[in-house]
Every structure is written in structure tokens, then in C-alpha cells.
Subunit: 383 residues, 2 copies
């Protein structure tokens, strides 16, 4: 059968789970991975080991692929344009992806679209930071390298311009943003296909600990139907205006509006399957991974609706013990309904090595089960 080949750049857990989702769809999956030990490389048949920063490697990898997509946003924009010029569909395309690669480009575009964002400005030195704070944002100020940050890396919170020297040392552009007094973080996740079909997942609450996603609750508890619909519409509009193909995660801050009614501001964009969508594997009719594959191939998209009243995802981070296997046995025995997703990665303290999903009718119970399993696997809960 003439089923197509998806080439995915990057061998992390997102590629691992995309391959898993592609198996029942019958699509063929080809992986470009840094090493044979990478999370996805362990489970994919057709793996090329190579450096995604090398154009010749990318070109060689792309031969025989019907479309190229990504596990991460780090492929240089000019390489993606070169692949497109070669006639290889790149999805999301470089003109869309740049908004997830470069926070300065992203902010400028969202401003132009009238999408509410935190106050922000590109800054060149600590004096710029001081000026930004004095013109309304106030301290503390968040400083972010415009490219390459993730999970709290490349991000600084400075309480004065005296603390602001370090971000400028690397000589890369820095974006200053106000520290928004948010009540919580949300994510509006949508998937869009090349011919413009799009689906919106329920808006979720995302709870971060030390700058890393800890727990996701689907749907976001207590979110008004109006604000949920507004956030979904905003995410769909961003996807359409930016020409996104595939999964788009719009990370949001929920803040009190002028009259006390909650509003949302856009924090970050990610154009790939995203940690805030892992709950969909067990909690939605169609997972974000399956819909990402369907979108980049321009297949009809699957139903994004939830299968249970509540689904909770908790990330499993590495703890002090390199071997999680006995904790894993305990968790499977304690909760026969637990859905566990291990990434095959070596355990290092604080590293994401898996996640668990739980679902059910009672949010307190669903949260407790997810938190217990994640804590037990990490070693922070021992009973």
C-alpha cells in the first residue's frame, strides 16, 4: 500500500510517542536522532543517526520522506527553507516555526495580531532592563534568550538591573517581560492541517514546579465556558494567522482582568506535540500525537473531545535513585487503572523520564493517583 512516510527530526520522547501513535495509522516513520540510545531511537525501526544542524544530513534524511516534522524547535530556519526549496514539505514550515523558535519574532507577531501578551521589549544591556522596568513593567523582570531556552533554561528573574548582567554574556538577543501576577497557567492546544482543518482540545491547567511542568489537569477546573471558548478561538486564530501545521500549544497566563473577571495572556508558543497535551493519550478520543501525524500528512483530523470527566497528567522526574523499576512495579500494583508512559531514558535528578495519566469522575481522586505515582517513581513518596 502507498501509505506515506513521516520523517521526524529529533529522537526525544515526543518522537517516541509520535511513532507509537503512527503505528495504528499505518504510516511509516523515519527518525533523525543524535544517538542510537535516544528515547525514540530505541523503538523506531528506520533510524538515521546524525546531526540536525548539518544541512547535508537533513537532505539525505529527507530523501524518501513525504513530509518532515519535528520533535523540537532547534533546526536552523535556513536549513528548513533549503529543504522546502528542494521540494520537501516541512510541517510546520519555517515561516510558522520561527515564531516558536524566536521569542522576539513571536511577540512582535502577536502584538500585530492584537493578541494579549505580557509587557515585553527586546533589550541589549542592563540599562535597557532598567528602562523597561521604570516604564511600567516594574521589577522583578523576566529575561529570556530569544532562542534555545526550554524548561526554565535560558530564563532569568531579576529584581534589579544589577542582577541583569548574566543574560547578556552570551551575546545573544534577550527579551524582557514583565513578571505577570498570574493566578494560574493554562494551555490551549490546537491542531491544524495544511488545507485549514483544525481541532481544539479542551483548555487545560498546567502546574509548574521550579519552571518545569509538574501536573496538567484536563479540563482546567473552574474555567468559565466563555473564557475556555475565547482561549480556544485565540489558539485557532494564531494557528491560522501563523500558518501552523501540526500541533500548536499556546501556553497562557490566567490573570484577573480590570473588573476581576479572569483573562488570558499568551506566555509561549510550541509547534509540536507538547507536555500539556500528554493527557490526550489516555484522556481524549484522538491523542495530540495521532492528530499531529494526521495534520502533517494532511489527513482528516480526529475528534479531540475528552473521554472522561477529568484526566490528570503528572510528569515523572528523575530522583536520587537511578533505577525506577521496583517503584514502577509498586505503582502498577497499587493502581491497576494507572496509565504509565516511560521514555527509556537514563534517570538523572530532575530529568523528565516519563509521565503518568489518570482519569475518572472524581478530580480529587484522579489528582491523588497521578501525584502519588509520579512522586513514588521519583522517590519523594515512599509509602
Amino acid at each position: 500500500m502507498t501509505f506515506p512516510v513521516v520523517g521526524m527530526v529529533g529522537g526525544g520522547q515526543l518522537a517516541r510517542m509520535t511513532h507509537e501513535a503512527g503505528i495504528p495509522l499505518g504510516i511509516k516513520f523515519k527518525l533523525l536522532s543524535d544517538t542510537p540510545q535516544d528515547s525514540a531511537a530505541q523503538v523506531v525501526s528506520d533510524v538515521v543517526i546524525g546531526d540536525y544542524r548539518d544541512l547535508d544530513t537533513l537532505r539525505s534524511f529527507a530523501r524518501g520522506c513525504d513530509v518532515i516534522t519535528f520533535d523540537h524547535e532547534h533546526v536552523p530556519t535556513e536549513h528548513l527553507k533549503a529543504l522546502e526549496a528542494d521540494g520537501i514539505p516541512v510541517r510546520p514550515g519555517p515561516d510558522a516555526l520561527v515564531h516558536a523558535q524566536d521569542k522576539g519574532v513571536m511577540r512582535a507577531r502577536l502584538d500585530a495580531l492584537g493578541v494579549p501578551c505580557p509587557r515585553h521589549r527586546l533589550v541589549s544591556d542592563p540599562a535597557d532592563v532598567e528602562a523597561f522596568a521604570n516604564e511600567g513593567a516594574g521589577f522583578p523582570v523576566i529575561l529570556k534568550t530569544v532562542r534555545g531556552g526550554y524548561d526554565g533554561k535560558g530564563v532569568w528573574v531579576v529584581r534589579s538591573s544589577k542582577e541583569a548582567a548574566e543574560p547578556f554574556r552570551a551575546g545573544v538577543p534577550v527579551l524582557a517581560e514583565e513578571k505577570v501576577p498570574f493566578t494560574r497557567e493554562l494551555a490551549a492546544n490546537v491542531v491544524r492541517s495544511p488545507h485549514g482543518q483544525a481541532v481544539a482540545y479542551p483548555v487545560v491547567e498546567s502546574i509548574q514546579v521550579d519552571g518545569v511542568c509538574d501536573t496538567v489537569i484536563a479540563p482546567a477546573p473552574g474555567l468559565s465556558a466563555d473564557l475556555a471558548a475565547h482561549a480556544q478561538e485565540m489558539a485557532l486564530r494564531i494557528a491560522a494567522e501563523l500558518g501552523v501545521v501540526g500541533h500548536l500549544a499556546v501556553e497562557l497566563f490566567e490573570v484577573p482582568g480590570p473588573d476581576g473577571t479572569p483573562q488570558v495572556l499568551v506566555n509561549e508558543l510550541a509547534m509540536r506535540p507538547h507536555n500539556s497535551g500528554h493527557w490526550t493519550q489516555d484522556g481524549a478520543i484522538t491523542s495530540q500525537f495521532a492528530n499531529h501525524v494526521r495534520a502533517v500528512l494532511d489527513l482528516p483530523l480526529g475528534d479531540p473531545r475528552p473521554r472522561a470527566p477529568w484526566t490528570v497528567m503528572a510528569n515523572v522526574l528523575g530522583g536520587d535513585f537511578p533505577d525506577m523499576y521496583s517503584a514502577y512495579l509498586h505503582c502498577l500494583a497499587r493502581d491497576p487503572q494507572l496509565k504509565i508512559h516511560m521514555y527509556g531514558k537514563d534517570v538523572k535528578p530532575g530529568r523528565k523520564v516519563g509521565h503518568v495519566n489518570t482519569y475518572g469522575d472524581d478530580l480529587a481522586d484522579v489528582r491523588e493517583r497521578a501525584a502519588h505515582a509520579a512522586g513514588y517513581l521519583r522517590g519523594t513518596i515512599t509509602e
Copy 2:
């Protein structure tokens, strides 16, 4: 991490879907496949191409595996005993598996356990068949080679001893069985682990067309709670008595009892993930494939309960058109809730190349959606 390695013998769709289910569990999967084009070999990283009938090949494959399990029942019993003697756990073990390999052994054991079966007798020639019919079974008589049959192959329905010559031509043992006037076929599927934990899936109705499974309905409509519990208990008892490890499918005939109350007779046993359990991928909390992996590794088993009131599985058979891709696009577009499972196999008329699962509250709707998709993919429905 010291997560274990499951070695699976056989590269068909059952191995493909077992690998898929093993990815989130974090287990490593190694495959022994006849060719690199086999369904599972297309999607598994660690594949050995070789002949499962060759003991040296099996021994070499088993090195580095923590357990060996199977996609089919065709590995010679003596080879399995040799692997066990080498210290490799083989699950299900040869002493259990022989009951799924040899219908004569299976019938004798079920008789000894008092499990109700169709009338049956090992026969050596057409005169034996005549005698079997005359002593109560009557014609037509079902003749089956005791080893090697599947999906209607190795099975004959004869209306007289004159028609009974062919099954004996190969010189292999033949089992005669009465043609049971069943009202429908059911399946009781259970999973058992080495230390004796076991779970029972809801009893399903299995609808065959031309000797091949066409549709499975979970749970079996109109089945009394008493008969469902009886069938589950019988399957659990067979699994325990035979020492089965992994998934056991007990195929059943539902027949009217002496007082008109439905009863069940055992038709066949299969000791591996089974077509009557494919619905569990999208319809149960834990799929048969995930629980098979968990069982052969002696991990705690997952919850087998259904996630929806009704789940229907329909097999996708090959039709006259070798390329299903445009039909596949149509089916995904028509039903965004459809769960499709393609096996990556070349289309040949009548060959199982995939299946679809549908689920929901309304059985008529769920059946229509599954039947439409399977029929459209095969080409028997064109609108």
C-alpha cells in the same frame, strides 16, 4: 534503568500491536521475524530475521531476552522445551501452549477438567468419521487437522464419509467434531501472570463470515450476567489448570441448553493476543496487548474493564483494490471518532490487513460505523 527485554517470536500484526503497547510501558522489545517486510518488523527497532523452526536461530534470538513469547502458536514444542532447559523463561510455557497447538491434546484435557465441549473424537480414516457420525454426532461432521490450522484453514465440513478423504491425505492426525447448532459465537478472554494474578475481560460476541472473524461486539449483547460470569470463571479456571501465562482466548459456542437457557461449549483456545480482543485497544482501560506484556514479565496486571458501554471491532480484509489509501482518507473524514489500526501488509483479497474500533452509547450506531469503515476499506461499500 534495568527495564526488561521481551522477545516475541513471529512478525505479524499481533507482534506489531504488542510492540505498540510495550512502548509506554518502557519495556524493550525484540522481534524474531521471517522477513523485514513483516507487519511488526516494519515498526520494531530490534529485529532478528530468521526461521522460528530452527533451534539455533531461536537460541541466538533468546540471548539477551528476559522472556520469550509468541505472535503465533507454530514454534515446535521441543524447541520451547530446549529454550526452557537453557534457562530462558518461555511464556506461555510449552506444557500450556501445547493445548493451543494440538486440538487433540486440548480436547482430552478439557474433557478431563469437565469443561463442556462439542462431541469429538480423533479419527484415522473416513470409516472412523462414519462411525463417529453414527454414534450420535450425525452429519455434517467438522474435521480439523490437530495442528496448524487457523482462520478456516485445516478445517473441513463433510456431509458424508465419502467427502472425508481429503483431510487424511496429508497423513496428519485429524479430529472429528460435531457441527454444533450454535446460536452465536462468544469469546471469554483472560490474562494470567506466572504468580497467578489473573484478569477477565467482558465476554464478547464474535461474528464470523466464511470462517474468518468479521465483527466483535463488547460486551456480548443480551448475554445474561450469570452466563457471562460462568464463561469468565471457566476461562480463568482453564488458564489456571493449564498453567497459561499471558493472554488466553477461549472461543465459545452459545447453544440452547436442555431447558432452553443458553449454555456455552468451548470451541478453540488461543494463547496469545487474539482477534476477539482487539476491541480492548480503544474500549478497555488496559488493552490485551499491554496486559499480555505485563503478564509475561510478571508485572502487576492492568484493569480490564470497558471504557464505553459498547465497543465494536470490525476486521478490514483485503478486497479487489491493492491500494486502500484513498478509502482510508474517506473513512477518517467520515468518522472523526473512528479508531483505525492498519497492519502495513500488502492487500490481498480476503487477507486481514487491519481493523477498526468504534465505541459509544448506542450499539446500532457503533456497529454501523465499524461496519461501514471496514466495508468501505475493503471496497464492498462505495458510498
